[in-house]
């Protein structure tokens, strides 16, 4: 097998909610107690993305998809684990050492507005990385490329001189996409890139992504909620729950035969336009556990209709159920 483009090994990410001694002290029943709160946003996530592949992450909102993405691209220092880019560990490189990788990795942010500098015009936003990474020879070239890319994401050239806040939500998202595509990266992390778009534009963008993928052979970590989009675009996908991957597999096997109870719950909830649902409706009862106090056993066991005793005691590991299809569940 070829060396994967990206390999994530046991990646973990924690947020310390208590910044210092003073804040961790709390008055409880007349006593001062010290409590340290840690959000375990990502727990030992491992997956690999081959060259030219689109790998999707789906899962509950708040389960740590964005955090995984941000850790991979090193906006956050990982608190554990490794990220290998073409075999090289980039998870502990300094900002300077990271520089050569920056051009090859780009991110489309979930938040289309906050990630755009309100004081930069759209053209500046897009031309900046191009010029910086030498994609464009000069300003003129950059402008041409910029107009081209704007065109492709469905923005009009005369809108190039506007500021982000003058756009509607969907338009802003497209600016973010254009920026990421501008440097023709090898690897794109797309954090819900199309969720704010209307279906027509969404289709356009997805087509664009596919075209570019064919053209430049880039790989993509794709985060989305819309399973039909995921199914359309990705080659493989991982299902996340509470910061951990519970099921990974090829698109066809996974959609054809979802194994993990959470995956089933997820698929059963997909709304459709006049089509029958993927999976018969399953009710997932119970509370979603908090990432602050992780349960001891399987994270899903509280809501799992099939849970057995063992699930509450022991955390299941990811294991291969069928070729190219892994799941983390005791009862399979």
């Amino acid at each position: 097998m070829m060396e994967p483009l990206i390999e994530v090994k046991d990646l973990s990410q924690e947020f310390h909610l208590t910044k210092g001694l003073l804040q961790s002290l709390r008055l409880e029943k007349g006593k001062i107690v010290k409590q340290d709160k840690v959000v375990h946003a990502v727990n030992q996530v491992s997956f690999r993305i081959e060259k030219g592949e689109v790998f999707s992450l789906v899962g509950e909102s708040g389960c740590g998809k964005s955090t995984t993405a941000r850790t991979i691209i090193r906006l956050l220092e990982p608190s554990g684990g490794q990220v290998l880019y073409k075999g090289a560990d980039i998870s502990h490189l300094s900002a300077h050492e990271l520089l050569p990788y920056r051009k090859n990795m780009q991110m489309i942010f979930q938040d289309p507005y906050a990630s755009l500098n309100p004081r930069q015009r759209v053209e500046e936003i897009i031309m900046e990385p191009m010029l910086f990474h030498g994609i464009a020879k000069d300003k003129k070239d950059a402008r041409e490329q910029c107009m081209d890319i704007l065109n492709r994401v469905g923005l009009r050239p005369e809108q190039a001189g506007r500021y982000p806040h003058q756009f509607s939500g969907g338009q802003r998202q497209r600016i973010g996409i254009a920026r990421a595509l501008a440097v023709r990266p090898e690897f794109i992390i797309a954090d819900e890139p199309v969720s704010a778009l209307d279906v027509s534009i969404q289709a356009q963008i997805l087509n664009l992504l596919m075209d570019l993928k064919d053209e430049f052979h880039f790989s993509c970590l794709f985060i989305a909620h819309d399973l039909s989009v995921v199914r359309h675009i990705s080659d493989r996908l991982g299902v996340m729950y509470l910061g951990a991957i519970v099921e990974v597999g090829d698109k066809h096997t996974l959609f054809g035969n979802p194994l993990h109870p959470y995956t089933k719950v997820l698929f059963s909830a997909v709304p459709t336009v006049g089509e029958k649902p993927l999976v018969e409706h399953i009710d997932a009862m119970g509370e979603i556990p908090s990432p602050v106090n992780l349960p001891e056993g399987c994270f899903f066991c509280d809501r799992c209709p099939y849970a057995v005793d063992r699930c509450r005691r022991e955390r299941p590991a990811l294991r291969e159920i069928e070729p190219g299809h892994q799941a983390a569940c005791h009862i399979l």
Partner: protein, 302 residues
């Protein structure tokens, strides 16, 4: 605006006239008034020497006999001394014209210098944090503990008097305001997602600071800068009041106000009121223009 200007270089002036910037400017009376005042003040400062009725600092041209003549329209005034004279028999109008050159220079250059130094240091401190921040901010603290009077006095004792030296003193005092404000805002701005986005592009810190942080803190900088121009002109007056201002041979508006101030109660109001009014006009103009610029540079307000 900018990109339109670029689009067609040949007739940028025409483009400017058609631009949004000019459109807003045209419809903003305060901005027009402001720029007329500022332009007038600068022109006077630069070219006024050739127009002034008298060189008030050529001691051979003035005569003590003319001292404290009231403005021309009052009883006892002379037409040759339109705004009256001071105790040396100096024409106030000429003195204002000559003095405004120093004052505007003090205001503008002093502001520019402290703004550049302060903003740079503030950005660096806020963005990098940690040791760099601590060092810069503690230097700021030290600087803050020295009053401008003491610094001016020190510079004067060591290097002598002069507008240039005063500028050094004012800059030494002035940068801190920017540094601290900019740092404070940088602390907040650097946590913004667009700064993170810039980091994922791989932009070096230098560029992130310049292109992503700076524009988002520029608001306060403009406010402070416009205020500071006036403030420096006035500080100079105050230093003159304390006896450590510009030398009497390189006059300034502040100095005129100060000397005139001594005789304010005696009914010889013109010696201080006219320079004072002129300072007000300049400061007013600069602030009107500054307000406009700040609003114009803020895309959120469009």
């Amino acid at each position: 605006m900018e990109h339109e200007v670029r689009a067609e270089k040949t007739s940028w002036w025409k483009h400017f006239l058609k631009s949004e910037f000019f459109y807003h400017y045209k419809n903003n009376l305060p901005a027009i008034i402001g720029s007329i005042l500022v332009l007038f003040a600068i022109l006077t400062a630069v070219a006024g020497r050739f127009l002034a009725p008298q060189n008030p600092y050529d001691l051979t041209q003035i005569s003590l006999m003319d001292s404290y003549l009231p403005p021309a329209w009052l009883d006892g005034g002379k037409l040759s001394f339109l705004l009256g004279t001071d105790e040396q028999g100096r024409d106030i109008l000429s003195a204002i014209i000559y003095g405004s050159a120093s004052s505007i220079m003090i205001g503008l250059v002093g502001m520019a210098a402290s703004c550049c130094i302060g903003t740079t240091l503030g950005l660096i401190a806020g963005y990098f944090g940690g040791k760099v921040d601590a060092v810069i901010m503690r230097i700021a603290d030290i600087q803050l503990s020295f009053p401008s009077m003491l610094i001016a006095l020190f510079i004067m004792s060591v290097f002598g008097r002069g507008v240039g030296k005063l500028l050094i003193a004012l800059t030494m005092v002035g940068w801190v305001t920017y540094a601290r404000t900019v740092r404070g805002e940088t602390l907040s701005v650097k946590k913004m997602e667009y700064v993170e986005a810039a980091r994922t592009i791989g932009l070096p810190n230098r560029i992130i600071i310049l292109k992503h942080v700076l524009p988002n803190v520029v608001n306060s900088i403009i406010v402070l800068a416009t205020i500071q121009i006036g403030n420096f002109i006035l500080t100079e007056a105050t230093l003159s009041f304390l006896g450590v201002g510009v030398p009497i041979t390189e006059p300034s508006l502040g100095l005129l106000v100060k000397t005139g101030f001594d005789v304010l109660f005696s009914g010889l109001w013109w010696a201080s009121v006219f320079p004072g009014l002129y300072i007000m006009l300049i400061v007013f103009g600069i602030n009107l223009l500054g307000d406009f610029l700040r609003d114009e540079l803020n895309p959120n307000l469009k």
